[in-house]
């Protein structure tokens, strides 16, 4: 029997006999369960059947033995009759699939109080008691059966008989379905459920057709109240998308098409939104324009203008989002502007078009798809943003904050949260769809890669002037804002007492020497350790699943590949708040009962950041000639060997990109995990938001600064650690994952 099959069978056997079948109260890795191995809560499946009346688990050992029996007698293709191999392989697929599905099915069918569904109680054998969430044993068994199923699929001749490919595909698909698709469907379901837990279309309609969502009034155009939150969200998103695209384009033109000096510094700007928690800008705006902000103080002192609350509402949120997301649009648009072939512009000029005509008729139309993409990103960022609206929204409610209040507020209305989530999700999907449609036939690839020489033509005067007049002050203000979030950490009380102090750092990050050794007594340590720990666990998982998915998409062909790609990229379009709500609905009840644990946060990190890993991976694969894989294959290597020996070493930059990105994004996420944290699993971002809520700006700002510092150090450290080996001229270095951001 091959090593692969032995591993699969051992996984299942261990899952049934050695580790707790059900989820534990404490951590698995504390190994307290060993002390009470046969206990009701800790026992492995075999003992659960024997001692605790979990009779329905009896099918698992039966399936294991059958699978072992079948796998022990593989059919020899050379000697067997025609079709015998296929029949045998079908048997393997069947056993594997039934095993994995049975674990899932029994988990969903039988809850703490017996059968979950009335029709089961009526038709199935009677059972005593019930069960809670599945644990380590169930996990191992599922994985083992999936491996067996994949083995059978490959033996049937699919994926050219390559077990590595079928196994990777099955695993990734199962994970994505479980942790992206299922939660979303669960939200959908929750929207239809009425107060008595019955499905009804009416329940959805009552929650949907509310003036709170859809009321309209002219005054909202300039920030007045009276409009529904749905309109608020859309209007804000449109303004934000238009604004960031415009500003991003100006900055991109400034960098690529003018003799602007500080180009390098400007490019550094693109890193900011990645390494700062998304609400830092909002925080800095409060420090500047808030009631006791620096600007208001100055105006009052100099001109006796009383401070107002104008910053709280549409203007403030919009301003914060513009500052926060313009770097993202800038990042997208640099590539777009650089992608316009200078030869085309030179051609236009040689046909006697002047600079403006060239810009208007050649450059801009060529950039149109890129601009649409930047607009889309700005739109998605805006509707997904949670930190800025919660800080600056005031009476101006948007969907993401309303969802939050529906869950954590006094109302605790799950149905409402579900329907709001669905609306927000459909906004996002609609935006994607519109962008796809608008740019479907206009994908001008102007980078030919071959001898594309020529100088980019200078900008028309008007455009250049606008770029300078708008762009430079904007840059200056951005620097001031981010600078503010550093300076604010070192003064006593912003707005009242500007005495320099380190007390905020001391409060958050003090370490004391006690009789028990060093004690991390600062209030922020707990959440910081949590954050770093979860991010460190999540990053390699994100990178692994991301690169594997990219491999399956870019390097193999199978039916349903488009669907697979859609699933892996789906979470990119799902606003963070929606993911958070979905995870609560999906994983608050057995069979997967992990709310309040660190696991749910890690999973949330992984599957939220997955699309970026996948996209970075696909981009990297497209830089590697397919003949490298084929050369490896013709030399006798199987998929797994090729992946490990040839592709992975060449993909190192992409892998590192995915690792860094996964880590950094996890550290700064807010919206998705705001519902998922508990007292034990509090994270840096939620802690900071809490401080802001209490008006404790000093600690909040100090903490943000520390976070940024940690991330910069981490990035520099990883880059240094790995270095880059010269790989010769025929492999262009694969670019690191493109850091396109969806707001936290």
């Amino acid at each position: 029997m091959t090593g692969y099959r032995i591993i699969a069978l051992v996984l299942i056997a261990a899952g049934i006999t050695l580790v707790p079948w059900y989820a534990l109260q404490g951590s698995f890795f504390e190994f307290k369960w060993l002390a009470n191995f046969s206990g009701k809560d800790q026992a492995p499946a075999l003992l659960q059947i024997a001692n605790h009346g979990k009779s329905w688990l009896i099918l698992l050992p039966v399936l294991l033995l059958s699978a072992a029996g079948v796998l022990a007698k593989p059919v020899n293709a050379a000697t067997a009759e025609e079709g015998a191999v296929r029949t045998w392989a079908r048997m393997v697929v069947f056993l594997g699939a039934v095993g994995a599905l049975y674990v899932l099915a029994q988990g969903f069918a039988i809850g703490p109080r017996g059968y979950n569904f009335a029709f089961l109680t009526a038709t199935m054998p009677e059972i005593s008691g019930g069960q809670f969430g599945m644990g380590a044993g169930a996990l191992l068994v599922t994985f083992g059966f999936l491996m067996i199923c994949a083995d059978g699929i490959a033996s049937m001749g699919y994926f050219r008989g390559d077990r590595f490919v079928s196994c990777a595909l099955l695993m990734v698909t199962s994970l994505v379905v479980m942790f992206v698709f299922f939660p979303v469907v669960r939200v959908l379901y929750e929207g239809f459920v009425d107060a008595d837990r019955n499905l009804s279309l009416g329940a959805l309609w009552t929650r949907f057709a509310q003036p709170k969502l859809w009321a309209l009034s002219w005054s909202c155009l300039w920030g007045g109240s009276g409009c529904g939150v749905a309109w608020n969200t859309l209007w804000l998103a449109l303004l934000c998308a238009a604004g960031t695209t415009f500003l991003g384009l100006l900055l991109a033109l400034l960098v690529t098409r003018s003799n602007f000096r500080a180009k390098k510094a400007l490019r550094l700007l693109t890193v900011l939104p990645i390494i700062t928690p998304p609400f830092v800008v909002g925080l800095a705006l409060i420090l500047l324009f808030g009631r006791s902000g620096a600007v208001n103080d100055f105006l009052y002192w100099a001109f006796d203008i009383p401070p107002t609350r104008w910053i709280y509402g549409l203007p403030g949120v919009l301003l914060a989002q513009l500052f926060a997301f313009t770097p993202v649009a800038f990042l997208v648009l640099i590539g777009v502007v650089e992608g316009v072939s200078p030869q085309l512009e030179e051609a236009s000029q040689s046909l006697h078009a002047n600079r403006w005509q060239t810009f208007r008729n050649v450059t801009l139309p060529l950039m149109a798809p890129g601009l649409a993409n930047a607009f889309l990103v700005g739109f998605i960022e805006s509707i997904a943003d949670f930190g800025n609206p919660i800080l600056l929204g005031g009476g101006f409610g948007v969907m993401s904050t309303e969802i939050y209040f529906a869950i954590v507020g006094a109302q605790l209305d799950q149905g409402k949260a579900a329907v709001y989530s669905l609306i927000l999700l459909s906004f996002a999907l609609m935006a994607f769809w519109l962008q796809r449609r608008a740019t479907a036939k206009k994908n001008f690839v102007t980078v030919s890669g071959k001898g594309d020489t020529g100088l980019p033509s200078p900008l028309p005067d008007g455009v250049r002037r606008t770029a300078y007049i708008v762009g430079l002050p904007w840059l200056a203000l951005t620097v001031v804002l981010y600078g503010m979030s550093i300076v604010g950490a070192f003064v006593k009380t912003w707005g009242r007492d500007y005495t320099p102090t380190l007390e905020h750092f001391a409060k958050g990050f003090s370490i004391e020497q006690t009789v028990n050794g060093l004690q991390f007594t600062g209030a922020a340590w707990h959440s910081l350790f949590n954050t770093v720990q979860f991010a460190l666990v999540a990053a390699p998982l994100t990178a692994t699943i991301g690169i594997l998915s990219a491999y399956l998409i870019a390097r193999t062909t199978f039916k349903g590949q488009r669907v697979f790609e859609f699933l892996t990229l789906l979470s990119f379009a799902i606003p963070g708040t929606v993911i958070g709500v979905a995870y609560i609905f999906a994983f608050n009840v057995p069979p997967i009962e992990i709310t309040g644990t660190g696991l749910i946060i890690v999973l949330c990190f992984v599957f939220r950041n997955l699309p970026v890993g996948v996209r970075g991976g696909i981009a990297a694969f497209s830089q590697l000639d397919k003949s490298l894989d084929e050369a490896s294959t013709t030399l006798g290597a199987k998929g797994a060997t090729t992946f490990r020996r040839v592709l992975l070493p060449l993909l190192k930059p992409a892998v590192i990109g995915a690792l860094i990105y996964g880590f950094v994004r996890s550290m700064t996420t807010v919206s998705a995990i705001i519902f998922l944290v508990s007292g034990d699993t509090e994270l840096a971002t939620t802690y900071i938001l809490g401080r802001v809520g209490n008006g404790d700006y000093g600690v909040a700002i100090a903490y943000s600064a520390v976070l940024i510092l940690i991330m910069v150090v981490a990035i520099v450290f990883v880059q240094w650690l790995v270095g880059t080996r010269k790989l010769g001229r025929r492999t262009t270095q694969a670019p690191a994952a493109t850091p396109v951001v969806t707001a936290g």
Partner: protein
């Protein structure tokens, strides 16, 4: 039937359909004997590369059978087949040294280290790159890179060695040299080779046999001189020797030859042909300027274009209402358009084509 050795390769009615309109390969059958070098020749899109990839196992046929050494390997994947491919781009692993590249095959097959090292050393010696073991591919010239690719393919002692347009990434000067090296190596090892190219001169220079492909079919197969001098189809005549394919009429035929009317000239052509309209293949070098006393048939040509190319004169002329391309090696200057002259035709070089 000839005896079937390790390196005998046979295709039986092989079809490859990607499901995108026309099949890429539409029922191809051929047999390559052990130790032969056979070239798949044809214009781009004719199915020659797809055929080669099916030999390698990188594509699996939609229909038909592939036999290697008499054994059915149709369903075997590339990693199972005893066949190696030298890629057009060489596909050297850029992160591995020359030694590691060549040793990749033995390594993934789990060969013992000392044995593998010996094999690698042998292979590198064979292609004259001993001393370059530690270099990275990027530190080698194009020609050297290709030799590493060949060594990497040879080290597993494959039954069949495949070449996918091996010369296309080399500059013109190197091509002839590398071409000779490949042929010499193949002869020395007596290994079966399948070679893909679209360059007819290259194909004729290296091959024992050529399989000319057109639109997913085999147009004709045979030895280089056979195909060059005695093509049976208009496609091969045109593709391999740039022959003019002219409309003519068969007036009569006996057992060995046919009487063919071309314009106002009557010609005797080898081979039987049915009476009536026919296609006549005339290579550009079958025309000559008449010498005094030449009794061979003559045609009247009106010059449309002509150019002096050093080794002679190329011309496009109107003969009996048809445009003809001809090459006159003994002419020393170009002709003005409209000039009329007589050309003799070497009847032995004419072919009636399908």
């Amino acid at each position: 039937m000839k005896d079937t050795k390790k390196g005998t390769l046979e295709f039986i009615n092989v079809v490859k359909d990607y499901g995108t309109g026309e099949p890429a390969v539409k029922g191809v059958s051929f047999r390559i004997e052990d130790g032969e070098l056979v070239t798949l020749l044809g214009p781009s899109g004719c199915g020659k590369t797809t055929t080669l990839r099916m030999v390698a196992g990188l594509e699996l046929p939609t229909k038909g059978q592939i036999l290697l050494g008499g054994r059915d390997v149709t369903a075997e994947s590339a990693s199972q087949r005893n066949v190696s491919l030298v890629f057009q781009s060489y596909a050297l692993f850029p992160h591995l040294s020359v030694e590691e590249n060549v040793g990749y095959g033995p390594m993934v097959q789990g060969m013992a280290k000392p044995q593998a090292a010996a094999k690698v050393a042998d292979a590198l010696k064979l292609i004259g790159l001993d001393g370059y073991e530690k270099r990275l591919p990027s530190e080698l010239s194009g020609g050297q890179q290709q030799r590493v690719a060949i060594a990497r393919a040879l080290v597993l002692e494959p039954a069949v060695l495949l070449f996918d347009e091996p010369l296309s990434n080399l500059d013109t000067k190197l091509r002839r040299h590398v071409r000779e090296e490949i042929r010499e190596l193949q002869q020395r090892l007596a290994i079966t080779c399948v070679y893909v190219t679209h360059d007819r001169e290259e194909a004729m220079a290296v091959s024992d046999h050529i399989i000319v492909m057109d639109k997913g079919h085999i147009a004709e197969a045979g030895s280089p001189s056979q195909l060059f001098f005695e093509p049976r189809t208009a496609f091969v005549a045109d593709f391999l020797s740039e022959a003019n394919v002219l409309d003519a009429t068969v007036m009569g035929a006996d057992s060995a030859s046919s009487r063919v009317q071309l314009g106002g000239t009557s010609l005797n052509v080898d081979g039987q042909a049915p009476l009536g309209a026919a296609k006549l293949g005339i290579r550009p070098d079958s025309f000559e300027l008449p010498t005094p006393g030449d009794v061979r048939p003559r045609v009247r040509a009106t010059i449309a274009k002509s150019a002096f190319v050093g080794k002679g004169v190329e011309l496009v002329a109107d003969i009996g209402g048809q445009s003809v391309f001809a090459y006159l090696p003994r002419a020393k200057t170009r002709y003005a358009p409209g000039t009329q002259l007589d050309l003799v035709i070497d009847e032995r070089e004419l072919r009636i084509l399908k």
